[in-house]
Each structure stands twice: as C-alpha cells, then as structure tokens.
Point group: none
Chain length 197, copies 4
DNA sequence: AATGAATGAGCCTTCATTCAT
DNA sequence: CATGAATGAAGGCTCATTCAT
C-alpha cells in the first residue's frame, strides 16, 4: 500500500489548501474576528475536522499569511522576468495587485496580525523578515528603473517602500470609500514613479 | 443640589475624552480584538465605569473612528490654509501624518472596522461618507497643484486617492517591516506628485 | 435642640415611607428584577441616597413585604369590624382587594420572594408566620359565616385557604389575560362561598 | 456522513426536552432570577452547551411558558373528554393541577414573566392569547355544568376566571404558608362551584 | 443630607478546542 | 476520516454598593 500513502498525502495536501483558501477569503473579509467555523463552512467541512489539518486557529492564520507573502514574492519575481523596461515590470506588478487578483487580499490580515498579541513575537519576527525579503526584490526593480531611466532618482529604499505601500493598497481603495483602482490608476502610478527627463 | 453641576459636566467631558484617547491608542495597538477592560485600564478606571460614558464597545469604536476622521479633516483644512503653493500644503499634510502625530494612527482601525460585521451597515455608510468628504478636500488641493504647476496632470480623483493612500500609510510603514517614514520620504512623495516640466 | 431631633426623626420616617411606596410599586410592576435605581427614581431621589435609609435591597424588599402583610392584616381586622353578617365582611374584604386598592399589589412580590434564595430562610420563616396569622383571621371569618349561615359547611381551613387565594388573585386576573375582576365577580365569589339552604 | 442522522435528531430532541424540564423546574423554583448555569446544571450539561439548543435565556423562558400553557390546554381538553357530568370533569381538572402534577408548576413563572421587561410586548401578547384560548375551554365546561345542573348560575366568564384562578393556585397554597391542597380541597371546590337546588 | 462617580462581583453569551461516535 | 456534541475560558455588560464631594 505505499501507493495509498502517497495518494493520502496528496489528498491531505489538497485539503489543507482548500482550508487555507477559505481561510484567506474569510480572514480578508472579516478580519481577525474570523471564527473557525466560518473557515470550515467556507471549505465545506465541519469545524472539528479542521483540527485534523491544523492544530490551532493561530496556525491557520500564520499559514495564510505565509502563503500570501510567498505568493507576493512570486509575483515580484515574475515581475522581474517580464520582458521590457522596469516600468513594464511595475505595470505588471500593479495589475496583479488589483482587487480581482486574490493574492493581494491577505495583506490587510497581515497588517492586523502584526498588531494584536494573537501572534507570538517570534512569529511576527518571521513575518517581518519575509516582508523585508520581498521589499528587497522591489528594491532591485527600483534600481533597475533608475538605471534604465524609467524611475526617478532618489533613495531606492524609500521609493520601494512608497511603491510597495501603494500597490498593496490598490485593492483597499474601494473599501475605504475611494474610487476603486483601475488601469488608469496604474498608469498614473507609473508616471508618478517616472523621472523628469 | 450640593454638587457643582457645571464643574461636573466639565469633568464628565474630560473623562469621555480620556476614554476615547485610551481607546484610540488601544484600538490602534491591538485592533478590533481590543477588550473594554484594556480601554478602561488605559484610561485609568474600572471597566464598569466605562459604561457610564459609552453604552457599548461598538459606540466607543464609532466615536474613535469619527474623531479620527474629523481630525484628519481638520488637518486637511489646515493644509488648505498653509502659505505657499500646493506642494507646500502637501508637505504640511504628510508631515502631520507621520507616526509621531497621534492623529493618524486611527486609520488602520477604520480600515479594519469596515470589514467585520461588528459594525452595522448603516454605520459603515456614515464612515464612508466622511471619508469621501475628506477626499474632497484632498481633491481640491490636487487641482490647485495642477493649476500652480506643482502637481502632475492626470485624473485628479485618482491622484487624490493615491496620495491619500500614501499619507495615511506613512505611519504604518515601520509596522509592516519597511523603513519608517522620514522627511526624506516626504520629499520623495512631493516629487512623485510633481509634474515633468 | 431636642425638638429638631424629633422633627428629624419624623422626616426620616416620611422618607422611608416614600421609598417603600415607590419600591412597592416598582416591585409589583417589575418583579424581583427591580433595580435600586428604579426605586430611587420612583421616590424622587438619587440611588445613593436610598442607602441612607435602608442598608440593602434585600432590606427594602423585606420591608415592602412586611408592610404589605401588615396592611392585609389590617384590612382583615377591619373586615371583622364591618357591620352585618359574614357575607358582608367578605364583600368588604374582596372589594379592598380589587386592583384599584394598592394594598394588594404586593402579594405577587411576596410570592416571588418566597422562591429565590434572595431571601434568607429565616426571613422566609417570618413571612410565612405572618401569612399564617392573617389566615387565622380569615379562618375566624369563615367560622363566623358558617355560624350565621352565610358560608357553606366544610373544613374551615380549606375554605379560608381557597378564599384567601381567590381574593389575593383578584387583582392579577387582568394581567393573566382573563377579564378583570368587578363587583359582579365579587358577588359571584360570595355566592360561591354561600351555603345551599 | 458516518453519523446516524435520525438517531442524532432524536437525541437532540431529547436533550431539548431535558433542558426544558430542568428549566421549568428551576424557573418555578427560583423565578426569573434563574441563571443559565442553574438550568444547565439541572439538565446535567455545561452552560455553554445550552446555547446549542436555545439561543438565549429568553427563548428558554418562552419555550417553558409555551409548553406549560399547551400542557394545561391538553389537560383542559382531556377534562372535556372525561366520562360523567361537568363536576366530574372539574374534579379531574383540579386533580391534575395538584402540586404532584408537574405540569402546573409553570403557572407562577408565567405570572412573573408577564411583569418585567425581560419579555417583548409581542411575546406577552402571544402568551395572553394562549391563556385566553385555554380560558375558552374552561368556559365551555362551565356552561356545560350550568346545563347539567352541577354548576351554579351566573356569568360564565366570571365563573371560569374564578375557577381557573383557583385550580392554578392549588399548587401554590403550601408555598404561600397555607395548608397544601388535598382531595378534600378539591371536593370543597366542586361544592363551591355547585348550584343551590 | 444628597449626589452620582466609581468599583467589581456576577451573569449572559461566544467560540476555540476536544472527543466520542 | 468526519461530525457535531460538549466543555470552559474569556469577554461584554449590568447593577448593588461604597464613597468623595
């Protein structure tokens, strides 16, 4: 039966993913007040069963955040590979951060999680570490843009930080009573980053 | 009536303010998971006493948000009055939004509150309404800047939204693992907004 | 100043009466869930001040019950003195127990109080003792009626109990969704008690 | 679905009944001051679990009252079916209302509930409606008795009200310091209702 | 005396987590 | 594996009681 074990493992992994998907959605929708039973309902299973895959709500939250950060990192690396100049890469990045892209909606949860004492300080440290790693990629893109003349001069870290803030907030605009972000918004953003020739 | 009614009223008002200050701080620090007893402790009184000033936790949250939005509006109007061109006004605005300025730290609470069903839909509507009013002031500033040549051309609403997002996030940068905002950040921000002559 | 002391004592007694009146009304209206502040409001003073006259809510409740029972006893003794036969005395008794007569509305409070552990067992014993004393008077009336031929034969204690139950419930009829008691009801009651010649 | 759904449903129903039984007892014993934890303890489960069956204390109270009223209605209808004349039916009715019959002990709770603002006015309306329906049955019995000569003449509604009051108070007699009701009491009651030939 | 600010015990209710089936 | 019954810790809120003014 080793075959079954492999298959079991796959099923198990699928389930975990299912739960995390639901959790990401619910966390992003209701914040940290999210209940285990909401997650379970979203994943289509009983709340008790969730504990066969994660040992606590905290673990789920951590997993959701980790996945969100890793995905964001993946998008960042994908942006690096985009054909064209740095502006094109930022354009790609911003587009992937629009509300329709599910990958971004975890960002607010992360923000909240860094507050509360729901998470251990150690966990927060890890999360900040990943954030810094992601910022590093953004930083490289900024510097590339300053080289190829599509990004203004200035402290790259500051620029990366500002740009990072912006794209992660794109999806939240509507929620905050502002107009939702569109392609037009993205073009403006690119121009804002741009140099004055 | 052996009491001094006028004085009592003043004390009462002070207490309310005291509670709101504590609440703002704790909400900003621990998010919606904030306990009434945390607020009470922060204000230096017993949890039961809080209910002599506010009739529920929800009411406190609403008051905190309202006050935060009104203060932000006040800052916006103060910025309008600043001597100089639009860039100077934005500079002023950004400076007042740095972490050291306590008035801004409510913004994240607001963001969280718009999620959850902790608040009635009606309350959320009111909050979004005030946000829109504030955006209107920012909008006027943007248009002024486009007139006096210190702000780039482009859809003013979009620009206002982007800028609003940025300044409200200044204080959160550090928290999110990025470098904290400084005067240098502000200058970059002003240049980003600026036109290409 | 002994005159002042006397006067003070009178005022104090008046105040106590005021509070008990309010308490009786509120207890009869809202049951044991009655709050001290309701009583205070009813008596037109601050809740804190009540404690200058009674040392606890329990003491007030006991006083209200005692007064109610004593008044009922007084009514019973007044009935004994009524001119005419026993039927006339019962008629008088029933009339004084109609809803309009405030003396009866405490009966339900008493009923509730005998339940809960809000009262010490010792207090309950005292209350039951007074109830028994009152029943004794009723018993005498019943026996008088059996003598003068206006009350049916049968165990006088049973009859007294049944009649006591009835008149104390007269005021509650309306509350329980039944038709309110009237003079007609009273006449029926007298006839029910009456013998078959 | 490894569970036996039908069985689960049965168990669930049993549990509900268990809780209601406990609640009826405790409410009848301690009045509206009854704590959820008392009910839970009475039913042999944890307080939290009670909320898996009822969503609030108020709902439990309402259910207890409803059940009590329905049971009383059932007894009334059973009395209607008793062989014999109306007196026999009343006898049956009174017997079923003695303290030993658990079905009646809810009446006092009902009485208390009609006070307080613990219940919505709407709920009280419903309760009064059911009381009126039950009174209707009693009314029919009275009229039957007036026909077959076992009940005195007079306004049937008044008679029904008086009789209803009496039988519902039978169980409370002892509690109020009076002699407890017995078969002898019941016979007296029947005679009181009877006509004078 | 008189007020109402202040406290904290206590109850209702929710929900993470465990566990029997 | 799956379910949901069951528990109990924790937090919101009320209100009796005390006390400074």
């Amino acid at each position: 039966m080793p075959r079954n074990l492999v298959r079991d493992q796959q099923l198990r992994e699928e389930r975990r993913k299912q739960i995390l998907d639901a959790a990401a959605h619910v966390f992003a929708t209701r914040g940290l007040l999210t209940k285990i039973s909401d997650i379970a309902a979203g994943a289509g299973l009983s709340h008790g069963h969730v504990y066969n895959y994660f040992k606590s709500k905290e673990e789920i939250l951590l997993a959701v955040i980790e996945r969100g950060q890793l995905r964001y990192g993946k998008i960042l690396r994908a942006a690096e590979e985009v054909e064209g100049n740095a502006a094109d890469k930022f354009r790609y990045l911003a587009r992937r951060s629009l509300p329709s892209a599910s990958s971004a909606d975890i960002y607010l949860v992360l923000l909240q999680a860094l507050f509360t004492d729901l998470l251990e300080e150690e966990d927060k440290r890890v999360i900040r570490g990943r954030a810094k790693a992601n910022l590093g990629i953004l930083l490289a893109l900024i510097e590339e843009g300053q080289q190829d003349g599509t990004v203004m001069q200035g402290n790259p870290i500051q620029l990366a930080t500002l740009f990072g803030t912006l794209i992660q907030n794109l999806m939240l605009m509507e929620m905050r009573g502002y107009a939702p972000a569109t392609e037009e918004t993205i073009e403006l953003l690119i121009r804002m980053l741009g140099p004055c020739p």
